[in-house]
């Protein structure tokens, strides 16, 4: 079986600083994969490299067997990969409905001509996608906000709206960047259940960055641990928890065995 995502020997530098060092990763279809590590470990950088935010200087990335290393972001996303952001990046002055519709921007298959004259084809395509967008809003209990500018939604709803926006294009791989950031215990539990349901419902493959150990342990089948750009461990969560280098790097160093990562200080 072709892996859905394959990263080979990826390196990235900011100036002289090495942010990602020789990173490799293979995600199989259907996986719920976790990418963890303390602040500044290079996790978000990996997401940015996958989605074409930064140019890749060394290493290659394959998506469903295709080499996407040199593609620009919109093309990568249109190929069936979607992501969310650590700091929510909704289009704040646009309505929740428009936000979701924008997730399917590349799949509005009509031309400038159709847009200028609102041709029958335009009507057909727009109708199809707005129907789908309303379905997704309903799925995430956001229907009442359809016409509300995104900035007026409560924090947790904004996070879920971002996931809805990512899902409308029916991606085969979803990248979630700290979906539980800024959430309390109860909200995080709801989120875990939501992600698990979505994984099944949309037959998704999910690659997830997380700080909260509990979320990762509850969700993921496979985990990779990054520290200072280097991969220090890889395997199922139970194994990772016992891995000597992980313990040494984090838990041992801080003399703290709490469930949370000791370095999870953001927010």
């Amino acid at each position: 079986m072709t892996p859905i995502l394959e990263i080979k020997d990826l390196w990235h530098f900011f100036g002289g600083l090495c942010a990602v060092a020789d990173f490799s990763l293979t995600v199989q279809p259907g996986d719920l994969f976790g990418l963890i590590g303390p602040n500044g470990a290079g996790k978000t950088t990996v997401f940015n490299l996958i989605t074409g935010v930064f140019r890749i200087s060394r290493g290659r990335i394959f998506f469903r067997g295709e080499d996407i290393t040199d593609w620009r972001s919109p093309r990568i996303i249109a190929a069936g990969l979607a992501r969310t952001f650590q700091n929510i990046r909704l289009f704040k002055d646009l309505s929740a409905l428009d936000n979701v519709l924008l997730g399917a921007s590349a799949r509005h298959d009509y031309h400038l001509w159709d847009a200028l004259f609102h041709t029958p084809r335009f009507q057909r395509v727009e109708q199809r996608w707005s129907k789908r967008a309303y379905e997704l809003l309903a799925r995430f209990n956001l229907t009442r906000y359809a016409a509300t500018p995104a900035r007026h939604l409560p924090y947790g709803d904004q996070r879920r709206l971002e996931i809805a926006r990512a899902l409308i294009s029916a991606p085969s791989l979803l990248l979630l960047d700290e979906p539980a950031a800024g959430m309390n215990e109860a909200e995080a539990t709801d989120l875990i259940n939501l992600i698990r349901d979505l994984h099944r419902e949309f037959s998704l493959t999910i690659l997830l960055i997380e700080h909260q150990m509990r979320v990762v342990m509850n969700l993921c089948q496979q985990v990779t641990v990054l520290d200072f750009g280097e991969t220090i461990a890889q395997g199922p969560p139970q194994e990772i928890q016992q891995h000597p280098r992980v313990l040494e790097a984090y838990l041992g160093r801080e003399g703290n065995t709490s469930e949370q990562w000791p370095l999870s200080s953001n927010q």
Partner: protein
């Protein structure tokens, strides 16, 4: 359906009015002239709002586009077309001017891939200055003295028709995947790229279409005045357009129409003040910005221009 009939009837009524009022002499030629200026300014404002309001960039050089449309269409009617045909081919002349201008729009669209904000504003400014400077140095087009000999082809019905066409196309564009994409770029370009919005293509669209309409307005202007010179398209003209856009409100079609109408009519109304009109005008602008920084209609739209809710 009901709505569509009402709108079509309104359009027909407006066009009849534009034809009957001047022809019957109910509207004196001075007022007809002013209404034509209002119309041309409406087209310019709608065009500029596409870039400054919806795409969220800051073009300060739209007079450069207007100049290209004006000169191209003027050259066509003066040198290329036989005089008797000109009135019949006028729409085509304007469209030709608009298309050439749209190509010039690419000059700004490509730099917009890499530079944004203030730096792109400076690119548009430089574009405006370069166009003006080239025209001043082209002796064959009259250089700084200007170009004349165009027949007076612009009349109120044509102006009204072009305002309606511009409004129709801009409104359709805004309420489409393209318009949504433009606004997404305005809100957060990086996130737009990462939600599959093809930002480069949309920027090209925005500049092409915006330049096209600025060119149309330039053509109408040239065949109204029957005389154009490079100084009519200086940065001051661009400033006028900016004022109309921000007076009416960015990201609003209604605002564009209002801004152009209020600006043009107010300047006429202040004419008795003589030189002081140009002192009072800027003061009013400053006060407006302080008390209503988003302009009159900023980001809001009159109900008749919005699409009906598509909730199933």
């Amino acid at each position: 359906m009901q709505k569509r009939v009402t709108i079509l009837a309104g359009v027909a009524f407006l066009l009849c009015l534009a034809w009957v009022l001047p022809a019957s002499g109910w509207l004196n030629p001075y007022l007809v002239m002013i209404f034509m200026y209002v119309g041309i300014n409406m087209i310019l404002t709608l065009s500029l709002n596409l870039v400054n309001g919806y795409l969220g960039e800051f073009s300060v050089g739209h007079a450069g586009f207007m100049a290209i449309g004006a000169y191209v269409s003027a050259i066509l009617t003066v040198w290329v077309l036989p005089r008797p045909w000109a009135p019949w081919l006028f729409p085509l002349v304007l469209v030709a001017g608009g298309l050439v201008t749209a190509l010039a729009g690419l000059v700004v669209a490509f730099p917009s891939f890499r530079t944004r904000g203030d730096y792109l504003a400076i690119v548009t400014l430089a574009f405006n200055m370069i166009v003006k400077s080239i025209l001043e140095n082209l002796e064959i087009l009259g250089g700084p003295r200007g170009f004349l000999g165009m027949p007076r082809l612009t009349n109120l019905p044509w102006v009204v028709a072009w305002v309606l066409i511009t409004l129709f196309l801009c409104r359709n564009l805004v309420y489409s995947n393209v318009g949504r994409g433009l606004m997404a770029i305005r809100e957060d370009e990086l996130a737009a790229n990462l939600t599959s919005v093809d930002t480069r293509r949309l920027k090209i669209y925005a500049f092409l279409i915006s330049a096209f309409f600025a060119g149309i307005a330039g053509g109408l202007f040239a065949h109204l005045l029957q005389f154009i010179n490079p100084r009519s398209f200086s940065i001051l003209k661009s400033t006028d357009m900016l004022v109309m856009v921000y007076l009416g409100g960015v990201g609003s079609l209604t605002g564009s129409l209002l801004g152009a109408a209020i600006f043009t009519l107010l300047l006429e109304a202040l004419r008795p003040l003589g030189l002081w009109r140009w002192v009072v005008g800027p003061l009013l602008l400053i006060l407006l910005m302080i008390f209503r920084p988003h302009g009159i209609m900023g980001f809001r739209e009159a109900p008749w221009l919005r699409t009906v809710s598509r909730e199933p």
